[in-house]
């Protein structure tokens, strides 16, 4: 056991790592925003008075939550072209991440909505607000606040899950690490760098969400 770590050998490949990191950040930011929006709309759909809408939302959520992410990804990238929908690897990866986060966050957000006291709906209704207005203005923000920690964790899981989209050759961080180790034969070092960068990204995400929390939830107690 005398393995000499050689990080200097990775220096020529820094541009590859940087490009991969950038793609990972792109995928993460857009899929987080898109996924949370989709999740919120589905959570609203699940409490709709329209039974058909309610059922379609449940269907979507259950299918996504009960199938592997990589299968969802392959379905979008390799399956959809059969239906004439052709997406680039980047687009397919992004779409898969949005759809995945959408389903999980819908279920988390719904828990927050279910926990809203009935009196909040009634107060809004007696003030003459429509159901939709009550949802968006009264119910939603406290619902986010209730489930915020779970929501943050889910977003980070999806960020880490972005490593999987390297399987359809999206050139993100894991793809870069693969590429570098195949050229430099410094596998240990390459993946160590990748792991460290993912760790830092996760910490950075938590910090960002903590900052958002301070601005978004100003009420002292809930």
């Amino acid at each position: 056991m005398s393995y000499q770590l050689d990080f200097s050998g990775l220096v020529p490949y820094l541009p590859q790592f940087a490009a991969g990191l950038w793609t990972t950040i792109e995928l993460t930011v857009i899929s987080t925003l898109g996924g949370l929006l989709l999740g919120t709309l589905c959570a609203q759909g699940r409490i709709s008075k329209d039974a058909w809408l309610r059922r379609s939302c449940s269907c979507y959520i259950e299918i996504i939550r009960n199938t592997p992410f990589i299968v969802q990804l392959f379905f979008i990238f390799f399956g959809l072209p059969a239906l004439g929908i052709k997406l680039s690897a980047w687009q397919a990866g992004m779409l898969a991440m949005i759809i995945n986060l959408g389903a999980y966050s819908a279920e988390i957000i719904r828990a927050g909505i279910d926990a809203a006291p009935k009196g909040q709906w009634e107060a809004g209704q007696t003030l003459g607000l429509t159901r939709r207005q009550v949802f968006w203005h009264i119910i939603l923000l406290p619902a986010y606040q209730r489930v915020y920690p779970a929501l943050v964790s889910q977003c980070i899981i999806v960020m880490l899950g972005s490593a999987v989209v390297s399987q359809i050759s999206v050139e993100e961080l894991t793809f870069s690490a693969n590429f570098v180790q195949s050229r430099s034969f410094l596998s240990f070092e390459s993946y160590m760098v990748a792991a460290l960068v993912y760790l830092l990204l996760a910490i950075l995400m938590r910090q960002t969400f903590a900052l958002i929390k301070r601005f978004a939830f100003k009420n002292p107690s809930l």
Binding site: Q120, T126, L127, G128, L141, N219
Partner: protein, 242 residues
């Protein structure tokens, strides 16, 4: 035409017959207290007046509008009927001012400036002008309930329904809320309250409605009802709460 008129209202929760043909008329400017044991249907009756509860038979007419299970009609009705709840139901993520202004902006489509003027006026009226930017979580129960009253007044309702609005308060905070109600009565507001505050019902209320077993068991002018209850049930109820 009475401001509020209930005609033979029946309400069932499944098999459970909760309201068994309730007749009640309330004129504009009246203060009517609904009293009775828990489970007698008094809250349910109140909630039938603004559509929070459906009823199965009879008619409820408020401000010349029939109360029906129709979202659009109920939204129109909400401009005539305000409601204050036992648990305040303030919106925790909004400041006091935002709570009061929400409906004026979203429903009445007033500008932010006009809404703010109105909100400050109403908070002044309930004695909380200095709490405009506070969050409900930082207020006492009595203060929260006064904000809730200001919030429902923002829609300038013709009648205010009060559902046990002092029941969740510490005893020393009840007075400040009742004072606001007295002030509203002096200004001519119609109040219908489900209440356990017998002193308030007697001293401030015009009329008392005693509910028992889903019916209006006894009703009359406040002083008469309290000094000379006719039915055995009301006599025993008053003896129990005094």
């Amino acid at each position: 035409m009475s401001l509020v008129s209930l005609d033979q209202v029946h309400k069932y929760y499944g098999e459970n017959h909760v309201l068994k043909g309730v007749d009640l008329k309330v004129e504009a400017g009246e203060v009517v207290s609904i009293i009775g044991r828990s489970g007698s249907g008094k809250s349910t009756l109140l909630r039938c007046m603004n559509g929070l509860e459906e009823y199965q038979k009879g008619a409820v007419i408020v401000d010349n509008q029939s109360v029906e299970n129709d979202d659009y009609k109920l939204r129109l009705l909400s401009r005539s009927v305000g409601m204050v709840f036992q648990n305040f139901n303030l919106f925790p993520h909004m400041t006091v001012g935002e709570n009061v202004m929400l409906a004026t902006k979203l429903v009445m489509k007033k500008s932010s400036a006009d809404s703010e003027i109105l909100a400050k006026e109403l908070l002044e009226k309930v004695g909380l002008a200095d709490k405009f930017s506070a969050y409900p979580g930082n207020l006492s129960g009595g203060q929260q309930q006064r904000v809730a009253i200001a919030r429902s007044l923002a829609m300038s309702p013709k009648v205010l329904l009060c559902d046990e609005i002092t029941s969740a308060l510490d005893p020393e905070l009840v007075g400040e809320v009742l004072k606001v109600l007295e002030k509203l009565k002096q200004e001519g507001m119609t109040l219908i309250l489900v209440t356990h505050e017998m002193n308030f019902a007697r001293d401030v209320g015009d009329r008392v409605v005693f509910m028992n077993q889903g019916r209006v068991w006894e009703t009359g002018q406040s002083d008469e009802v309290f000094s000379n209850p006719q039915t055995e049930e009301l006599q025993s109820f008053l003896a129990a709460v005094r």
